[in-house]
């Protein structure tokens, strides 16, 4: 069983979803929680089995799919994917548990379980096509969730979401096919295995084009400026659970893919594009933060804040050193937790008032103190307060990028300022002041169901902020070989200089000394 | 003033074009079918001429089969026209626009 745990983890939710068709609709929610909980504990078990000291892929499974074309069912995880998988299963569980939707719950739960399969699949896949399959498949449940349970503009939003990401990923697909073709030219065999691709050293101009192709796919998913405009609509229209999963997991696919694909496959191109991407990331950080500040809808604020934070993640990824990449991966998880929680929180108030306009609220702190507290904690985490989960990631990301560019980091660092501006002002509008609207006077504070979902998130936020080691260590161990691989593959002098050589014993020693 | 293959081919081409004009111009379906016959006949001249100038029988065979095809087409075409006519009482193609877009 252990050797097939990844497959079990991937396909168990799908199987359960199929069986879920039979379950009576009144019991669907209980069924969903059960399945999601089992899946979550399976993922925890995976963590338990995971050996944090090994740097390579673990739990690898391989089965031929289209052998003639080099497509294999190849899955495996390392420290980078492990935690995002756990995050996925966790959020699915939390999401189903905190579901307040009443319309066609059964369909929703089945959809969510399918979505869970695709999410786990994306992060476990080590074959480009398998990755692509899950990547694309993940769009469909989300499309359905937004389109069927969303707000008034849901159809526009869902189609925009789907087509935008789909378009990007098709370009990426062409890139993948090229990559496979280059591999074919080099070895005479087709292969889509990432691990095989890692061995390929491409000339710079090929790298640039392929990087660009992959970039379009990933950047739209992230979403990076200027490809981000689907996100506010998707979030704005999606039901709470949709936003939560979208923000917590789906967006991470893009940044995860940067680490998995772009960096190790195209080290020279990564260095070449480092600054353009950094500029985009900075625009994302500052510009979207400003846009977030101008929003009138609290959910849109959180949505834009996601974009802003994703900017930091991208920046950290393109720091191309262990600190930055580890930080960005940690921040992915952190942002997942925090933005997921924020969307859940927005959902709480939406359930009560059926509006998300901040002008409709005010003074909620006195009516809903617990809610205000949890919101406050999450907001502070989002702002990147030390000892919350976000800070670790943000700090490491920025620290990492500082190695590459001082000025850019200085500008990007304004994230902590602009982030505070929109978050605090939104919080102020919502929670501070006097209760002006009569409808708000008798709002109920968070109930047990909601607490059940929110408290674990708060605990995680603080726990991992104080003690990130259980995650950070395996992540760091898994990032090291990637960085080393990049350094070894780098051809241009600039790339060699910018990507640190971890194998250099001298460097290691000197670092040891400084400790 | 020798008649070459080119003469025949040009004739064939011209007749074909006349057929094309007919195909485009005719709104009466029956007369439209006349035009399609012209098209096939035009090629038949070509085939026969080529067969003659190449001293090869294949062209004649082709022409032969083209005639057979033309005849079959007439049968089916008329059949279709008849049902259409029975249903609508007209064979003007301008009224055939229930499907569009």
């Amino acid at each position: 069983m252990q050797e097939h745990i990844l497959s079990i983890l991937i396909f168990f939710p799908a199987l359960a979803a199929m069986l879920g068709f039979v379950v009576h609709k009144d019991s669907a929610r209980a069924y969903g929680i059960t399945v999601a909980a089992i899946e979550f504990f399976l993922s925890l078990w995976l963590w338990n089995l995971y050996d944090p000291m090994t740097s390579g892929m673990q739990f690898m499974e391989q089965a031929p799919l289209v052998a003639a074309f080099g497509i294999n069912y190849l899955v495996g995880i390392d420290g980078i994917s492990l935690f995002i998988i756990i995050l996925s299963t966790f959020f699915t569980m939390i999401g189903i548990a905190s579901l307040t939707e009443t319309r066609r719950v059964k369909d929703l739960i089945i959809t969510l379980l399918f979505l869970e399969m695709t999410m786990v699949g994306v992060f476990a896949a080590l074959d480009a096509i398998v990755f692509y399959v899950f990547w694309e498949l993940s769009l469909i449940p989300m499309l359905y969730i937004i389109g069927a349970w969303g707000g008034p503009l849901r159809i526009y939003a869902s189609i925009k979401f789907f087509l935008y990401t789909f378009t990007g990923s098709l370009v990426m697909l062409v890139g993948m096919l090229f990559m496979a073709y280059f591999y074919y030219q080099a070895t005479g065999q087709w292969s889509f295995s990432l691990l095989e691709w890692y061995r390929l050293i491409l000339p710079l101009n090929f790298q640039l084009w392929l990087f660009a192709a992959f970039f379009i796919g990933f950047a739209i998913k992230v979403p990076m400026f200027p490809f981000h405009t689907w996100l506010p609509y998707a979030h704005g229209q999606a039901p709470t659970i949709g936003s939560v999963i979208l923000a917590a997991i789906l967006l991470k696919m893009g940044t995860y893919a940067f680490v998995r694909f772009s960096l190790p496959l195209f080290p020279d191109a990564s260095v070449f594009f480092m600054f353009p991407i950094a500029i985009l990331a900075i625009i994302m950080i500052i510009y979207t933060a400003m846009v977030a500040y101008a929003q009138e809808d609290i959910k849109q604020v959180v949505a834009y804040s996601s974009v802003s934070h994703m900017g930091v993640i991208v920046l950290g990824t393109f720091a191309l050193n262990v600190e930055g990449i580890s930080g960005s991966i940690f921040l992915m998880i952190a942002h997942g937790v925090v933005s997921g929680a924020l969307f859940l929180l927005v959902g709480v108030i939406y359930d009560r008032r059926h509006t998300k306009l901040m002008s409709e609220f005010g003074g909620l702190a006195s009516v809903m103190p617990r809610y205000a507290t949890i919101f406050g904690i999450m907001m502070m985490a989002s702002v990147g307060l030390p000892l919350t989960i976000n800070f670790v990631g943000e700090f490491l990301s920025l620290l990492g990028f500082y190695k590459q560019s001082h000025a850019f980091t200085l500008v990007a660092g304004t994230a902590i300022i602009v982030g505070a501006i929109y978050m605090l002002s939104a919080y102020k509008k919502m929670f501070f002041g006097n209760v002006t609207k009569d409808e708000n006077k008798h709002l109920k504070d968070v109930n047990m169901t909601e607490l059940l979902a929110l408290v674990p998130l708060v605990v995680i936020t603080v726990w991992l902020g104080v003690y990130p080691k259980p995650l950070l260590e395996p992540i760091s161990h898994s990032v090291e070989p990637i960085v080393q691989l990049m350094h070894d593959k780098a051809q241009t002098a600039e790339a060699q200089a910018r990507i640190p050589n971890l194998a250099n014993p001298e460097a290691m020693n000197s670092q040891e000394e400084t400790r | 003033m020798e008649i070459t293959l080119a003469h025949y081919l040009v004739l064939s081409g011209v007749l074909f074009s006349i057929g094309l004009i007919g195909v485009m111009r005719r709104k009466n379906l029956l007369m439209l079918f006349f035009a399609t016959e012209i098209l096939l006949n035009a090629t038949n001249i070509g085939f026969a001429a080529i067969a003659h100038y190449h001293g090869d029988l294949t062209g004649q065979m082709f022409a032969f089969f083209v005639i057979a095809i033309a005849a079959s087409e007439v049968a089916v075409g008329l059949g279709l026209l008849i049902v259409w006519y029975k249903r609508t009482g007209k064979i003007d193609l301008d009224i055939m626009t229930s499907m569009r877009g």
Binding site: V66, A67, A68, F69, R104, I129, V133, E136, L137, L139, I140, L143, G147, A148, R154, I155, I159, F162, L163, F166, L170, V171, L173, V174, L177, F178, Y181 | S12, V23, F33, T36, L39, L40, A42, T43, G46, F47, I50, H54, T58, F62, F65, V66, A68, I69, S72, E73, V76, G77, G79, L80, V83, W84, R87, T88, L93, M96, M99, R100, G101
Partner: protein
């Protein structure tokens, strides 16, 4: 004077005719049955047709085995050419037909199925297509094509309502024009090469180093126009939506698959040697045609209000997509063509069957076509299984992995990549995104809108066990395509490669 002709029967290879003869015999048998005892139930004819088609398919598979051992076979004075393409083509033709013929077993009665002539014509048509692909003689192609087409026109008209007559007349008239094009094009080729067999034409043209380039291009122009009609390339596509709309959904689905694969095989035989001989013009033209066909039809499909018409445009787009394989002209791309079409047939079969299942006899007031999008509105709420099936086929058509068409799509795009057509690969990929819009439109209607009451009772009105079975087969074929891709790929590559394409 006449010398006796000595021909050994063995050298004739009469066996090469066997599959087609089975189909013709089947057709005649049906006619005979009708003569002997009229008014029999359609299920009899369906099953008889199915039986003959099975034998037909068995023979073709047998040829397949022979081909693997001995390579291409020709027979009947080199008139028949049973190479890999012919075998693959026939398999798709016959298998596709076998899947479509049970669609006659609807719960409602439709005109055509009550007459045995329908089934007879159907089998004749199959024989015609089989002849068309199993030869490289232009006459044979022409005669086979016309046999099939004439039967097809009649089959469409037999649906017996004004729209189907209109469709048949349009199809017929344009077909006649296309036949003229074909004849003229063949004539030109014959004029410059003295031959009407494609391999000889290729040989002579090659030997002449394409000296008569003007003639060659003239011929290609006419032939392209003719096959452009058959394969519905823009701007010769205009019949497609109307004919699809006019004919029954089952027939429309059939037309989107079987006639086209025949057309593709002939195009492959005709155009690929030209592409390879460096007729730059043809490359450019095909490039343009492929791109325009894909893009324009996708754009038009977006604005359709009827699902069947939308699918008609989508099938144009798919044809354009596959036409790219001929442009690329490598073994890989030709393999991809067959793979794509095999997978496409399953999915498209499913999609059209879903429409067929929902066909109501009389239109409601205000309903302008058989399958407006509103008909499927909110289907997930009223008939979740049907909605999921239809959604599945739409996703597959859109090329969402891991469903059937995705694998065909990546293989074609990969062949474009390996063939050096980078930009084409990108255009193809982006076109998939365009296409996704209209497939999504149906999904949006089905999954995200509220049901329209009046249509509620019409859905599944036409369903019967056999139709549901077909849908099931299509669904299984679509979902588990990934398992079939590898063996398919191997076999197809073997056949295509050994046929010299």
């Amino acid at each position: 004077m006449l010398e006796p002709i000595h021909i050994s029967l063995a050298s004739l290879n009469i066996a090469t005719l066997a599959p087609m003869i089975v189909a013709i015999v089947g057709a005649l048998t049906i006619l005979c049955i009708d003569l002997i005892k009229g008014g029999l139930h359609k299920s009899l004819y369906v099953m008889v047709s199915l039986l003959f088609l099975m034998i037909d398919l068995g023979l073709i598979v047998d040829f397949g085995n022979l081909f693997i051992q001995n390579g291409s076979v020709s027979g009947m004075f080199n008139m028949m050419l049973i190479d890999g393409l012919a075998i693959l083509g026939q398999i798709i033709i016959v298998a596709g037909s076998m899947l479509f013929i049970p669609l006659a077993l609807t719960s409602k009665r439709f005109h055509e199925y009550n007459y045995p002539e329908y089934f007879s014509l159907f089998l004749f048509m199959i024989a015609g297509f089989q002849f068309m692909v199993a030869t490289d003689n232009l006459i044979m192609i022409f005669v086979g094509l016309e046999t099939a087409s004439l039967a097809l026109y009649a089959l469409i008209a037999l649906h017996n309502r004004s729209k189907s007559f209109e469709a048949a007349v349009k199809y017929f008239t344009m077909g006649a024009l296309a036949a003229g094009f074909y004849a003229f094009g063949s004539m030109i080729l014959y004029a410059i090469t003295g031959s009407i067999e494609i391999n000889q034409i290729a040989a002579v043209l090659g030997a002449d180093h394409y000296a008569n380039i003007g003639y060659v291009l003239l011929a290609i122009s006419f032939l392209l126009a003719a096959f452009g009609f058959k394969l519905s390339m823009v701007p010769f596509h205009t019949w497609t939506p109307d004919v699809y709309e006019g004919s029954s959904a089952a027939m429309a689905g059939y037309m989107s698959i079987v006639p086209k694969i025949a057309g593709f095989i002939v195009s492959m035989r005709l155009f690929e040697f030209l592409v390879h001989s460096g007729v730059v013009w043809l490359q450019v033209i095909l490039y343009i045609a492929v791109v325009v066909t894909m893009t324009a039809s996708n754009i038009w499909a977006m604005v359709q209000t009827d699902v069947k018409r939308m699918l008609a445009y989508s099938s144009i787009s798919h044809a354009g997509f596959v036409m790219a394989a001929i442009l690329i002209g490598t073994t890989q791309s030709n393999t991809a063509l067959f793979l794509y079409w095999a997978l496409f047939s399953f999915t498209n079969l499913g999609a059209f069957t879903m429409l067929w299942v929902s066909r109501q006899k009389n239109l409601l007031p205000g309903q302008s076509s058989d399958h407006p999008f509103e008909k499927f509105s909110g289907l997930i709420k009223t008939m979740p299984m049907a909605a999921i099936m239809m959604g599945l086929f739409m996703l597959s058509l859109a090329g969402i992995p891991p469903f059937g068409l995705f694998w065909g799509k990546i293989y074609i795009i990969a062949s474009a990549v390996t063939g050096g057509y980078t930009v084409l690969a990108l255009i193809m990929a982006l076109n998939s995104a365009l296409a996704a819009y209209y497939y999504l439109k149906l999904i949006v209607y089905m999954f995200m809108k509220e049901p329209v009451k009046e249509y509620g009772k019409y859905y599944l009105v036409n369903a019967s066990l056999s139709l549901k079975t077909i849908i099931g087969i299509a669904a299984v074929g679509t979902i588990f395509a990934v398992l079939a891709v590898n063996p398919l790929l191997k076999v197809i590559t073997l056949f295509v490669y050994n046929s010299g394409y």
